[in-house]
């Protein structure tokens, strides 16, 4: 067992599960989507992205790309939330919430691809 692999996989899978947790629930309903969870997803995703830096293989490039996509989606969601709450006058409406949640939904997809790639790589290793 390789501790580095464990930590690497841990962050990638945690990014996916947290992301899914935030995404799951009624799209419009702000009560179903916790701001702390979004925060955790962003932090874990950032760490997962940094851990993929500098891998020169084709698979490494794919993994980095999926993580970057997830980050773009999640940070956009956070920006939408911050702008809606602090800049606009109406606050977070149902429509805004739907935008935030669907953006995070895109990130879920990217994270799923990332985990699938990781699993594929692991299954190709011969023991």
């Amino acid at each position: 067992m390789n501790l580095e692999k464990v930590i690497f996989s841990f962050f990638m899978i945690l990014a996916l599960t947290l992301n899914f947790g935030f995404f799951y629930g009624d799209v419009h309903n702000p009560d179903h989507h916790n701001v702390y969870e979004l925060y955790a997803v962003i932090v874990i995703n950032l760490i997962a992205t940094i851990m993929k830096f500098g891998d020169r293989s084709q698979l490494g490039a794919m993994l980095l790309a999926t993580s970057l996509v997830a980050n773009v989606q999640l940070i956009s969601a956070a920006i939408v939330w911050a702008v809606a709450e602090h800049v606009g006058t109406v606050g977070v409406t149902e429509a805004t919430m739907a935008t935030i949640v669907s953006l995070s939904g895109g990130a879920v997809l990217a994270n799923i691809i990332s985990v699938v790639l990781l699993t594929l790589e692991a299954s190709m290793l011969r023991h």
Partner: protein, 581 residues
């Protein structure tokens, strides 16, 4: 794939970046969770947006203060912890980046990446020059300033640094690598589709040989020019079709023989192959009589051979007894005197008969000794012709000041020869033809040459009358117009003035016309060798390229090229045609 330098920096940045993200996220979370009090004394929670803002300006030591409300003590404790950890994390990451940029491996990665990018941007044929010593520098300067692209490879980091600070007209990428290593040679551009020649001018014959073998095996179609100073290496190189091997000593000995037998031919050679726009060299008169030869090395041996063939008396001075043994073995029945010594002191020189000698060759491989020999000899005999061997570029001014009649600098000879070979192969053919001409013919050529140039060494260039190099003349000839040589030699600004240049030779299929007459009609695909002042090259090429310039010098009424011009003349011509009917 990713650039190795970027990949390296990203990999090294993982740890500091993770530290920053972790510290920032914990600090932000803490700021959100710890309750504060707003201006009305009501409990209040920072949201993520404000917390991140607060942590960002605190961690980066900007510090806007306690906003939006004054913090509670509980919050202040957390901020205290935050400051210590986040500021440390921030500086750790910054210092890591700075130290990364300074590591030799990163610098090397950046230099290699830059080199590859510069190589990729080259979009015309280039020469791969191996070795950036004296010869390499001289060669690159000549080639790059004539807008030829070059790429330099040298295993000496100082040489590459020298290259970096040079200011050539075209940019010359340089790589610090070992040219003996085939993969590095390929990396430096040997396998590049635009590589049009490999020039091996390192200071070691073994290294040059390896470069020649590598390029002939990997890219047989690319011409290879090699400097070689030893005959056995030269034979080896020629055995596998190396295109040109250049031996500075042989080249010089050939020139020396020429100067002895036909001073005017030597002068013509010097003028035509000299560095353009330098002062024109004076005729050298080498008399027949007694010669003193200091230094019986590679140069001395070749010069002795020439003097021996001319049946002149020679005294040799050399420090090495082994050379004397070698000399007596080579020429067992030769009566020439061989003195052991440096030849720098008056006694040895007087012993060698310097007072009644007509010529001196200072040909050792030590510049100080050579200069000393020259100065001592000049004091003993004022009428000596002096041939000096200059070994290092830095001593150039000293040798010029020593008033030696002929200065032989191996690096310069090789560089000059290679430049002529690459730039103007037709000139070499012309000189080859000249060897077979009479002295009288050469004297006439020299006098007509001095009529068309000023006091500086002339430029020599070749124009080929094809579609690329002379589109105007080519188009005119294709239409059946008759153009004579005289007509393209008129100044395209004032046509009653002649361009200051002399056509030396026309090569037509395989025929050669030496010093063609003014009325020589031009034909398609003629290769014409010109010689003249630098301005002349521009004027001639203008007549060759620009149809309007050509029409002007030929007093031919041209057709306008612009739409409006064509419209007007087209109409008038049509009218005239109908009138004629």
């Amino acid at each position: 794939m990713m650039n190795p330098a970027t990949s390296l920096i990203l990999r090294q940045m993982r740890a500091p970046l993770i530290v920053i993200v972790t510290v920032f996220s914990i600090a932000t979370l803490g700021m959100v969770l710890i309750p504060g009090i707003d201006e009305n004394g009501q409990p209040w929670h920072m949201d993520f947006f404000h917390a991140l803002y607060f942590v960002s300006f605190t961690a980066t030591t900007i510090g806007f203060g306690e906003i939006p409300y004054v913090l509670t003590d509980a919050q202040r404790i957390w901020v205290l912890i935050t400051i210590f950890f986040s500021v440390i994390g921030w500086f750790y990451a910054l210092s890591k980046i700075v130290s990364l940029v300074q590591t030799p491996i990163f610098k090397k990665a950046v230099i290699h990446a830059n080199f590859r990018r510069n190589l990729g941007q080259i979009n015309q044929g280039f020469y791969l020059i191996c070795g950036y010593g004296e010869t390499g520098q001289d060669l690159v300067e000549g080639l790059a300033n004539k807008e030829n692209r070059c790429v330099v490879i040298d295993n000496n980091p100082d040489a590459i640094e020298t290259l970096e600070v040079q200011d050539y007209i075209t940019y010359v990428p340089g790589l610090e690598a070992d040219a003996k290593n085939p993969s590095q040679l390929e990396y430096a551009g040997l396998s590049h589709p635009l590589c049009k020649g490999v020039i091996a001018v390192t200071n070691s014959d073994a290294c040059n040989l390896k470069i020649a073998i590598t390029s002939k095996l990997l890219q047989p179609h690319i011409p290879v020019i090699v400097r070689s100073e030893h005959h056995d290496y030269e034979e080896n190189m020629k055995s596998f079709d190396t295109d040109h091997t250049i031996n500075p000593y042989d080249t010089f000995a050939l020139g020396f023989a020429m100067a002895m037998k036909s001073p005017s031919l030597y002068l013509l050679n010097e003028w035509l192959t000299g560095v353009p726009d330098s002062t024109l060299s004076d005729p050298v008169v080498l008399k027949e009589g007694h010669w003193v030869l200091c230094g019986y090395g590679r140069l001395g041996k070749r010069i002795f051979e020439i003097l021996r063939q001319l049946k002149l008396s020679v005294t040799i001075i050399d420090t090495l007894p082994t050379q004397r043994v070698d000399f007596h073995r080579c020429y067992p029945d030769d009566k020439s005197k061989f003195i052991l010594g440096t030849g720098t002191d008056a006694d040895t020189l007087i012993d060698a008969g310097i007072e009644k000698a007509v010529g001196l060759v200072a040909g050792s491989d030590n510049d100080s000794n050579n200069l000393s020999t020259i100065m001592t000899s000049q004091m003993l005999n004022k009428n000596l012709s002096i041939i000096a061997r200059q070994n290092e570029m830095i001593n150039k001014d000293l040798f010029i000041a020593s008033k030696a009649d002929v200065i032989m600098h191996p690096s310069e000879i090789v560089a000059r020869r290679i430049r002529t070979l690459l730039d103007n192969p037709l000139l070499l053919e012309f000189l080859q033809e000249c060897y077979q001409q009479s002295n009288e013919w050469i004297n006439i050529t020299i006098s007509s040459l001095s009529g068309s140039i000023n006091e500086l060494t002339p430029h020599c260039w070749t124009n080929t009358l094809n579609e690329e190099e002379a589109p105007a003349v080519y188009a005119a000839l294709s239409k059946g117009r008759k153009i004579s040589l005289k007509q393209v030699l008129k100044n395209p600004i004032l046509r009653y003035r002649q361009i200051c240049c002399l056509p030396l030779m026309i090569k037509r299929n395989n025929d050669i016309i030496l010093i063609p007459g003014d009325s020589e009609p031009l034909q398609k695909n003629d290769e014409i060798l010109f010689c003249g002042i630098s301005q002349a090259e521009i004027h001639v090429s203008q007549c060759m390229h620009d149809i309007h310039a050509l029409n002007y010098v030929m007093s031919f009424k041209g057709t306008p090229d612009s739409f409006l011009g064509r419209y007007i003349t087209g109409n008038t011509r049509q009218k005239r045609r109908t009138d004629d009917k």
